[in-house]
């Protein structure tokens, strides 16, 4: 349930490839009022049990540094087994460019590329 003043954010998680990779899709706006919701999703099953995380930000309309911090924490924990996809030219893309985190968050051109990258990272780690 959304608390008063809290932004609408929907986070859905799907396990793909026999559950090896968790795909987390966020929709809406991410700010100080709800960034912990994304953080919880990224640290709970199936994410916590997976070999890697694909964070799909293509339906995120806005994110500020509070949301970015959550993403960076997860990316640091998973290393090469973490990747993001986003919409070019979006508010998310603009923030990533400004803070220069595209590489750290392993921004990929497509879901397929992101999954390939995560699998390669998992193979390298294994």
């Amino acid at each position: 349930m959304t608390a008063p003043g809290q932004m609408d954010l929907a986070v859905t998680m799907t396990a793909v490839g026999d559950g090896e990779i968790a795909v987390v899709k966020a929709e809406g706006e991410i700010d100080l009022s709800n960034h912990e919701e994304l953080g919880t999703a990224l640290t709970s099953p199936p994410c916590s049990d997976s070999a890697g995380i694909l964070l799909d930000l293509t339906a995120v309309e806005f994110v500020d540094s509070s949301g970015l911090r959550v993403m960076l924490t997860s990316a640091q924990a998973f290393g090469d087994r973490f990747a993001t996809i986003l919409t070019e030219g979006s508010a998310v893309d603009t923030l990533f460019e400004m803070v220069d985190v595209r590489e750290r968050l392993h921004v990929s051109a497509s879901e397929e590329e992101a999954l390939k990258r995560i699998r390669a990272g998992a193979d390298g780690a294994g």
Partner: protein
């Protein structure tokens, strides 16, 4: 909020939900003024988040006031709080990029801090508006 379409004037509690309330109100004005909605929205979100997170520590209570007006070729946004001022926060949960983003997103940003609070003034390019 001021009924005039070229101004926003909000007094908000220092709560996380106030960030979106301020951002949406000023973003609507930015759209009407021909300013970059993305830049204005992000800068306002960072400024109000900073006030909510840092201004009201040590038991201090108060409000965050957000004012925006379209004048000439500018959209001028002020985020003011009557908190503790800009003092180091060792429990800072942010990335520490808020003020840097504000400076880069706006044409000009000023930060005034005292023991009576903090005032952040941001100026953005806009279409010709009211004199």
């Amino acid at each position: 909020m001021n009924a005039c379409a070229s101004e926003v004037d909000l007094e908000l509690p220092p709560e996380p939900g106030s960030v979106a309330a301020a951002r949406h109100a000023v973003r609507d004005l930015a759209r009407a003024a021909g300013s970059s909605e993305q830049d204005v929205a992000l800068a306002v979100s960072e400024a109000v988040s900073n006030a909510v997170i840092h201004a009201f520590r040590f038991g201090k209570e108060g409000l965050v006031r957000v004012r925006a007006r379209h004048r000439g070729h500018e959209l001028i946004v002020t985020v003011a709080d009557n908190g503790v001022g800009m003092i180091p926060d060792v429990e800072n949960p942010g990335l520490g990029v808020g003020t840097s983003l504000i400076s880069r997103l706006s044409e000009m940003a000023t930060f005034e801090s005292s023991n009576e609070g903090t005032i952040v003034t941001m100026r953005f390019k806009a279409n010709e508006g009211n004199a």
